[in-house]
Symmetry: C2
Subunit: 234 residues, 2 copies
């Protein structure tokens, strides 16, 4: 019982910091996204291709979460974007990122000149869904080889996400996968979920994803504040 | 700090029960395996094909772990084997199985007539490696589309396993995957790891896996105890 109570306290503390993160990034006018999936679903390749398309128009930053290694950070830095790595093996090999680590990592960026902040969470379809990081959008990636039943078997992740990307559409001819059923399963868990199908490898379906980001980033821009010069009465 | 201490206590308690499980199944002469992987790597299909090949020769049982649904149990029951389902959403959606749940679930089997007990863990490449269930072998499945870097990015799972199955070998022609590098990465983490490559779909490479199980199941058989009839002196 003690264990359960403490875990609930940890989650509540995390949620409170996530709430602060959300407000903080909104004030800065930064669009924020937490990209989550199992290992090997294609998070890093999607980020590489996405940033390559956006980086001339928008200033992007990435917080890279992994249990171990800086492999993904090295890949992303080649694109010339700022990357901050969080390795959870420093925290006992944790299976998720927490809101406080995002808050601390964010301070490494030039936040007044950032348009988009991507968080690449630890590869895991269970735990990261329990820990809100305070991003505008939770984005779950499910790749076609993983099977159509995953939304019903790991429902929390699909309930807590606003966008689902079905990746590796190029492999469809070689798999016994029913993408319609995959989508139906996801909608059964979360009827509001926006679903995009694409291939990070061939970039099929990528235009819609990029257009969606561009629409959202424009919505986030903070209107210039009108400075009212108070006239002193003397 | 409190949280970390309690987690350590939970892990130590789990390890103690795992130790008891190991002894208990050894006394019964049952070969036990904990099958672990990310969601969608092919755990259930490998089990289906494996049991179909073994069931006329050996009595098999399965403990099926999932966050939610009994989909996989239904699939396996069709083979005529006994299946016990553990849904972790009853325990707050846990991302792994624990030794105590295995102990309790095992009591549902006719243990004196069981040769092999398979545990299909929750789909997750991180957490199940932290919780020993007390099986003879931890078996990690990594499928080719997941990428060659996973052993170094999620090292604990590969360190805690004795056998690694590379699944979905049939997809190799359609992927940019270097299987040799995948194996080298795994061996770097755990030089003792036995690695088998196969396709559950085409059953390519399956013979070696089945032969390995057959060898291990024979090793486990308890020699008939010689009953010594004590002669009462009167």
């Amino acid at each position: 019982m003690t264990e359960i109570k403490i875990i609930k306290k940890v989650l509540a503390a995390n949620d409170a910091i996530a709430e602060l993160n959300l407000k903080f990034f909104a004030e800065k006018g930064i669009l924020t996204m937490d990209i989550m999936s199992s290992p090997g679903s294609g998070k890093t390749l999607i980020l590489e291709k996405t940033i390559a398309r956006l980086k001339d128009k928008y200033k992007c930053g990435v917080i890279e979460g992994d249990v171990s290694t800086t492999n993904d950070s090295v890949r992303l830095q080649k694109l010339g974007v700022e990357v901050v790595q969080i390795n959870t093996d420093a925290f006992g090999g944790d299976c998720h990122l927490e809101a406080e680590w995002i808050k601390d990592a964010a301070l490494n960026f030039d936040l007044d000149n950032l348009d988009i902040l991507f968080v690449e969470n630890v590869g895991n379809l269970v735990c990261p869904a329990e820990f809100q990081t305070g991003m505008d959008f939770n984005i779950v990636i499910l790749s076609t080889p993983e099977g159509e039943d995953k939304p019903v078997k790991y429902p929390l992740m699909f309930r807590e996400s606003q966008v689902m990307i079905i990746n590796k559409m190029d492999l469809l001819p070689y798999l016994d996968i029913d993408v319609k059923l995959m989508k139906d399963n996801a909608k059964k868990i979360n009827p509001e979920l926006k679903i995009l199908s694409l291939s990070a490898k061939t970039e099929e379906g990528f235009d819609e994803w990029i257009e969606w980001i561009e629409t959202e980033v424009e919505k986030k821009k903070v209107p210039l504040r009108i400075k009212v010069q108070e006239k002193k009465s003397d």
